[in-house]
């Protein structure tokens, strides 16, 4: 359920109705208020006033939280689209700045709730939405901020949603029971030494998020001039493409820690090269 979310998480939550959106976000906002998180709610399909009323109707003390500076409900045009277009490359810096402001004000964490309906209007720049979602994992994986990204299934096709889902470490899909849902994967990154910790299950539903974090880790390690580590002691990898990437990149960029015997076996299977055919044995 949405109440299990923690700082560091980055969720693709697919919704089918406005009521579902308000129900899920009311729970997320209430939970954040209780944990002394600052909450930034970027809405699009609903007006900010409608979100405020909807949350209020579901028991969230909206006026009080807004007055205290703990809750900001704003239109996406003042958030993602402040420059009139979506600049995927600039967004991680925007979120990092929002995080710095929140931290400076003494809040225990930052919760971003984003209604991604604006992307369905095909604004300039939105074609790289999956790239943005993959790249922004870096900010959340530091463990102070978290994001709940709302994707309305009435606005996006399954083919459009597939790469977007895979750019998040976890997705709440249409078939999942809301009460039983748990995040599939948590990713946390630390700078010194460069270390990526993965907890949960990796598969095709989150492989792009993992790939982006592995790339980020490699960049961090190169910049620091030190070796990087990927901690897999609490992770299970059910994705051949990710294992292949670990084999391919790991040889030169990072060291695996705590891999399971099964993963060791699969890496060995995938790692052997055949000199005449160019493939693993």
């Amino acid at each position: 359920m949405v109440a299990t979310l923690q700082p560091g998480d980055h969720v693709c939550w697919t919704i089918g109705t406005d009521d579902e959106q308000l129900r899920v976000t009311a729970r997320c906002v209430a939970d954040g208020l209780a944990r002394r998180h600052r909450i930034v709610y970027l809405t699009h399909s609903l007006l900010p006033q409608a979100v405020a009323a909807g949350l209020d109707a579901r028991g969230v003390p909206v006026a009080e939280a807004v007055a205290a500076g703990q809750l900001r409900i704003t239109s996406s045009s003042g958030g993602y689209l402040a420059t009139g277009r979506f600049d995927a490359a600039a967004m991680p810096a925007v979120w990092a700045a929002e995080q710095a402001v929140t931290r400076a004000a003494g809040w225990a964490g930052l919760r971003a709730i984003g209604d991604m309906a604006w992307a369905a209007s095909r604004l300039p720049g939105s074609e790289d939405l999956a790239g943005y979602e993959a790249g922004v994992n870096r900010v959340f994986a530091e463990g102070y901020a978290m994001a709940l990204c709302l994707y309305d299934r009435r606005l996006f096709t399954a083919a459009e949603l597939a790469p977007i889902m895979a750019a998040h470490p976890c997705t709440k899909g249409p078939g999942a029971d809301e009460a039983e849902w748990e995040p599939a994967l948590r990713m946390r990154i630390s700078a010194t030494p460069p270390r990526l910790t993965l907890r949960g299950e990796i598969d095709a539903s989150n492989r792009h998020a993992v790939a982006a974090m592995l790339d980020t880790l490699a960049e961090d390690a190169a910049a620091a001039g030190t070796a990087a580590e990927v901690d897999l002691s609490e992770a299970a990898v059910y994705d051949v493409a990710t294992i292949t990437r670990l084999v391919r990149d790991g040889r030169r960029t990072y060291r695996l820690v705590g891999e399971s015997p099964q993963l060791t076996k699969l890496i060995r299977l995938l790692a052997v090269r055949s000199p005449y055919a160019g493939g693993p044995a």
């Binding site: 249409p174 599939a184 095709a204 059910y238 493409a241 399971s260 055949s274």
Partner: protein, 308 residues
């Protein structure tokens, strides 16, 4: 024989003498040529060859064929590894004597497909493979298929096989027999998108209750890979079904698509640079059996694994 590509021959023999008359010169010439020598043969043939070769037998890698010929995809991977080792040791070519274990009738189709696939998968390999077929004990159909799967036959005269069919033509005519199931499935799920892969694994875990961790992890990976394969490459309504009988679990993903166009899918790995495309290859490595069939407009990818 010269050249760097594959030579793949069937040796049809009906006596120890005929066997030795063909295999011993093959190996001795290989020694003279500096080739790597490998023999995955019956235990009685290992003894015959060791006796006849004397000290030279130390130059031959003898392999227990019962261990070697368990799953076609694993055997193929094994040959790739051995050829890579041979090349690393400086051998320009490998000579291989490979006696496939055709076993019971349930294995004939899989291993005939293997014999055919070898021609495509190792087309560029610097290897000369002789596959002895004992015509006294092997069924007529298996021996007849040897003419279709080997470009060259010896019985004992060595000649091009007039019945040879390239794998691209033969494999579609010899579809793998799907692993059998009985009764209704223990689970039947509709697959919609990748966010359901975790739920699929929860269902697999429930059906595989009592399995040890090691085969269970393999099964979870296999189920995830064939599910994502169906979602990505299939069309229409996708179903995942599971059956359990004792310690054997059969997992099937079906869709409304035409199935993969490449009859060799999963037998050989894609090039090194590619991150994708290894899924079905790894599935074939891990499963006891895998079959892709298309009937009445639906494609079924079915695998079987047994907890051991």
């Amino acid at each position: 024989m010269t050249g760097t590509g594959l030579c793949h021959e069937a040796l049809l023999y009906d006596s120890d003498t005929a066997y030795c008359d063909a295999v011993l010169p093959f190996l001795r010439d290989g020694l003279a040529d500096g080739d790597a020598l490998v023999a995955a043969v019956r235990t009685d043939h290992t003894a015959l060859l060791r006796d006849a070769l004397g000290a030279d037998a130390a130059q031959v890698m003898f392999i227990d064929r019962e261990e070697w010929y368990r799953r076609p995809a694993v055997t193929i991977a094994g040959w790739r590894g051995l050829l890579a080792q041979a090349q690393a040791r400086g051998h320009g070519r490998a000579r291989i004597v490979g006696e496939v274990v055709f076993g019971g009738v349930d294995r004939h189709r899989s291993w005939t497909r293997y014999e055919s696939a070898v021609n495509a998968l190792f087309a560029d390999a610097p290897a000369w493979i002789v596959c002895p077929y004992d015509t006294r004990v092997l069924p007529d159909q298996v021996v007849a298929d040897a003419h279709r799967t080997h470009p060259v036959v010896r019985d004992p005269d060595r000649r091009d096989s007039t019945g040879y069919r390239p794998p691209a033509a033969l494999l579609p005519e010899l579809p793998e027999d799907p692993p059998p199931v009985t009764g209704p499935p223990a689970a039947d799920l509709v697959l919609r998108d990748v966010s359901e892969l975790g739920a699929i694994r929860r269902t697999v875990r429930a059906v595989a209750s009592g399995w040890p961790d090691d085969p269970l992890d393999d099964l979870l990976l296999v189920a995830t890979e064939i599910a994502i394969n169906g979602l990505r490459h299939g069309s229409g309504q996708r179903h995942l079904r599971l059956w359990r009988a004792d310690d054997t679990i059969v997992c099937e993903v079906s869709d409304d698509g035409p199935g993969p166009p490449d009859p060799l899918v999963g037998y050989g790995p894609p090039p090194d640079d590619s991150l994708g495309g290894r899924g079905l290859w790894l599935v074939r490595q891990l499963c006891d059996a895998m079959a892709i069939s298309t009937t009445a407009g639906r494609t079924h990818v079915r695998v079987a694994m047994t907890a051991t």
